[in-house]
């Protein structure tokens, strides 16, 4: 570059005074700017520190670290690796279209990545790929690490090999985050074929159904603490992970990476433990469920996967226990619909009568009751009476302000239309009982 372009660039960067550029982290770490060795100085040091070793294949080299964790020590709760294949009906609840081999936990490959950002896109790298599988009554963890961007090819080939050995991918939020990101990485190579897992079990979705109501958030560390009663202790903050790695790339010391390796190991252990907990809950919620909400969660999963029989059983169980009011209403509402679909109208009517009120579920219950009396019992007068009751309830809610005015108006209009129709129907069926509105003698 000519001296003049050099100057121009210098002038250009000097143009805007006040706003700071993102502070180059290398300065903080005391590394002279522009110091860029081809292999980080600390790489060997890192290998020694971690007990990792370079792994070589036809695409080059990367670092790999193996460690075995004994099963029962994974968490303080009594979690052990599943024995034998899991029941097919359980597998359907997790992944309805998964092939049979997914039921064999020996085929499972737990996966969790540490990345250079959360936004995705082709410039985000997975610099640490953590893998784990059940082995000898415990969990074998293997971590693949990029000491340099140029080692990515060899890392991806290693991942493909592991996935060929155990083709069922098990993740936490991997369907949305980790796996699409790895797909991008494979495509960026233009040479290494994208491996195709036989199945992908993502435990985020069941975790949401089971625990969001209790915990508000379903972050893995949160679940470990509250569901598995396991406290991680000190852990690196996820937001700092990319910059710690960038510091290392720029020649920083390797020691700050160690907490990231540990974090990734804990994520894998937590995931494996969580998977066990979800499986045992799904298998026997009545025995395994710690509270009514967990049982309710299982019923929701069963309902979503179309297992109506089990869904009804566990909903009944959860309402018999002590659910918080909102969950109780939701459970009874679902239960009533399942009962109706199953032809058990008396149970449905019973539930609707219990629900009827000015809540959303309550108004829906009135509506369901009206439909039931009109079409199933063929008693339009009774249906009309239910609707009048609903309208009275709405008037009260409007007066007390317990329902938003717009919602109030909407429901009111719906019920009034229904009532008008019912009144006409009653008039046609029983002209002599016409409510005195100008029926000619």
């Amino acid at each position: 570059m000519s001296a003049s372009t050099h100057d121009r660039y210098a002038r250009l960067t000097a143009l805007r005074p006040a706003r700071r550029l993102d502070t180059p982290p290398c300065e903080e770490a005391g590394i002279p700017a522009g110091f860029m060795p081809d292999v980080p100085e600390g790489a060997e040091h890192l290998a020694r520190l971690l007990g990792a070793e370079p792994r070589r294949n036809r695409f080059g080299e990367h670092l790999a670290l193996r460690r075995w964790f004994p099963g029962p020590a994974v968490t303080s709760s009594e979690i052990t690796p599943p024995e034998g294949t899991i029941d097919d009906s359980l597998l359907r609840l997790l992944a309805p279209s998964a092939p049979k081999e997914a039921a064999d936990p020996r085929q499972w490959l737990f996966l969790d990545t540490e990345t250079t950002g959360l936004a995705g896109g082709s410039g985000t790298y997975a610099f640490l790929v953590g893998l784990a599988w059940w082995d000898a009554g415990g969990l074998e963890v293997e971590q693949l690490f990029l000491r340099e961007h140029s080692e990515e090819h060899s890392l991806l080939v290693a991942l493909s090999e592991r996935l060929a050995e155990r083709p069922v991918l098990v993740t936490f939020n991997g369907k949305t985050f980790d796996w699409p990101l790895l797909e991008t990485r494979y495509r960026m190579t233009r040479s290494i074929p994208l491996p195709a897992p036989r199945a992908h079990l993502d435990f985020l979705h069941p975790a949401r159904n089971l625990w969001r109501a209790q915990l508000g958030s379903v972050r893995l560390a949160e679940l470990e603490r509250h569901v598995l009663s396991w406290n991680r202790g000190t852990d690196v903050m996820s937001e700092l992970i990319p910059s710690i790695y960038f510091d290392f790339l720029r020649g920083g010391p390797p020691a700050p990476l160690i907490p990231i390796f540990r974090h990734n190991q804990m994520d894998l252990q937590g995931l494996a433990a969580l998977a066990c907990r979800v499986l045992s809950l799904l298998a026997d919620p009545v025995q395994q469920g710690r509270d009514a909400l967990e049982v309710w969660g299982v019923s929701r999963i069963c309902e979503r996967r179309g297992d109506a029989a089990r869904a009804r059983t566990f909903y009944e169980r959860s309402v018999a226990l002590d659910l918080p009011p909102e969950a109780d209403r939701a459970a009874r509402r679902s239960l009533a619909l399942l009962a109706k679909r199953g032809g058990d109208f008396s149970r449905a009517v019973e539930l609707w009568n219990g629900l009827a009120g000015s809540s959303r579920a309550g108004l829906e219950a009135y509506e369901q009751l009206a439909v039931h009396y009109e079409h199933h019992e063929r008693q339009p007068q009774r249906a009309a009476a239910v609707v009048r009751q609903a309208l009275a309830e709405l008037r009260k809610a409007a007066r007390l302000g317990t329902l938003a005015p717009s919602a109030c108006e909407r429901h009111k209009a719906q019920f009034e239309r229904r009532l008008a129709r019912l009144d006409r129907k009653v008039g046609r069926m029983f002209p002599e009982e016409g409510s005195g509105r100008g029926v000619s003698p």
Binding site: L12, L21, D22, P24, S150
Partner: protein
Amino acid sequence: MAPSAQGLAVKEKSTLDTVQDALTALAGRYRTDEVLTSVKHIPALEAQYRPMPSWVHPDLAEAYRARGIEKLYSHQAAAADMAHEGKNVVVVTPTASGKTLCYNLPVLNAVLEDPDTRALYLFPTKALAQDQLAELHEMAQRLGDCFGTFTYDGDTPADAREAIRERGHVILTNPDMLHTGILPHHTKWMRLFENLRYIVMDELHTYRGVFGSHLANVLRRLARIADFYGSKPQFICSSATIANPAELARRLTEREVATVEESGAPAAEKVFVFYNPPVVNRNLGIRRSCLNESARVAKELLSRKLQTIVFANSRLHTEVLLTYLQQTNPPAAGGPQPIRGYRGGYLPGERREIERGLREGRVRGVVATNALELGIDIGSLDACVMAGYAGSIASTWQRAGRAGRRSGTSCAILVASSSPLDQYIVQHPDYFFGRSAEQACIQPDNLEILVNHLKCAAFELPIGPREQFGSADIQELCARLAEAGYLHRSGESWHWVQDAYPADTVSLRSVSSDNFVIVNTRGGDVSNPEVIGEVDFSSALTTVHPKAIYLHQGQQYHVDRLDFDQRKAYVRPVDTDYYTDAVRYTQVRVLDPAEEERIAGPAVRAHGDVLVRSQVIGFKKIKFFTNENVGDGKLELPENEMHTTAFWITLERGLLDSLPFPLSDRQSGIFGLLHALESMAALLLMCDRRDIGTAVGERPGGASSEAAWQDAPAAIRNPSEMQEFFEPNLYLYDAYPGGIGFSEPLFRACELLLRKTRELIEGCPCESGCPSCVGPAGEKSERVKEAALAILACLCAQRDEAQETSRLRRRG
């Protein structure tokens, strides 16, 4: 003559007559040639046809035949042939000449021949993409749905995106979405990029200045990614008529591009009228208001049952005109409102209803902003009234084209405002109707813009050791980006090492991402502040300084506080009868002249790199309409330095000595001339006045400048103390850091610029200077206009004199 034919003839004649009647009614009271500066009758043009090319797939030919297209206009055939041969091509045609077929024909033909073929269409706005989508859907239906076509923009629902990536043969999008949504996620678009054969760019002339310079870099990124996936797409572009379509296309795409300029489309008969509101104060050069006169014109047309569209240049003006026209054209008892407004901010349903009303004739008149300029189908109206010049010839024709798109006589009336551009246009119809002199300029190698896109490029694909990206030495730039913590070198390539996403922070509409946010506090209700806009760093100090009146969508806001560090301006809505004009002291220092040449005068024209130092030291309050100065204030704001490019003219001592004026008149003449030069430069470059800065400085403007800088603010406040320039430089600089490509074209067009400026000042009927020519009278001397013209006379002296002089210096 058969009765029916006679009836038709009578009707044809009466449209022309009706317009004539309306014009007589409007201008009868005044000296007609002063008000109607041009009444141009444009006769109908016959179509030039060519047969459907033999290479067109029979199914495609059949599909077009079913739409009533059996043969092509000559330019369609020429463009499609070139595209089919594999050339990059730009079609330059008037509105409604069937340009979409120029690209749809070769693209769909390629898709029919190889169903893997993919094409990417870029439109400057979402509305245009929607319009094209309808046409492509119709073609897809006729072709048995053998190809998929989708728009992909910010409105595309997330769950539809995957299907679009897999199944879309033709993807319609805009540059911003390509920049932030597609390129950074190219692995998801593998099928598109592996098979990308065509890139279609419509309305190419809109990609100029900052936006165009960004787009050129986005296309560089696109080319890298296409190359990565092994495709080499070909460009098919269309542009409105400008002076340099081929050059623009070449600079944007960095490929050789062939042009097709002869339109074979038929055109209907049209009357194009320039209406200059009558002068009410000859001394101050004040004319009747453009808005009121536009309303009068529209009223005359509407009262003669001509369906009329009225264009205004701002939302506020739209509302004013609408109110007026609705009052004078009340709906029939119980009938629908015959006059409607149409602008951004109306709901889509409302817009569709108005469009339908126009097509069906229920709506008799519509007042619109440029929201209706492009693409939207409203059928053919009888008349178009433009309240003020649209800023470029291309968009003026586009607006005029909304009346009489296909057949029948129509009329377009441009009502001039008192701005220099408007006045120049209506007083020099030849400039408008002759060969276009408008240049679309870009500077893709603007370092700040280029570096931003280099970051995006590194995020998309690591940057290899032998890569090219514009003219910059990118290895050096990458090393600097690595120092700043953005990139890391591994192996031979540079990789992105930030967790942020670079495209998100780069807007294609401004040079740097360092913007000031305008916060509306609603007069103290700080609990609920609202961000109403952004201004970029370079214009913030002049537009949102404390006590400034900031205009946003026709509403005035008073700037209560400027938080320089947080980059925020706090404003509240007000209703005042004045606006503010920042008093800025600007000093330009030449860093590196690229070319210098002596011209008549004696004078020198030059362009090159400059350093602009400026400080806002105060402001004036200017009353609307009369432009009176009604007060001023002092400001203490930080000074600002900018490295950019400039074009300048040096007036040598000999020239100044030859002028028969005292010092103060000479100085006023210099500033007046610069004001007029700026207007004409904006005209030639199709840019906003804000895009160009002006300054006067001493040649050589070097070492002594630090002292001069310190004294200058005082001198500005008291012009009589201003020292005399020995040999002044008149600078027109690009108002963006790094320059945006205006300076060299101005240097080349110097002679044209001077001639146009002379025509502007000479043609202005004011006595001694007005805002339409040399700037508002008042502070300047009475002979400012005279002096400016005298300088111009020297500069425009015989060309042969200039030719004797030789080029001083030329740098590659």
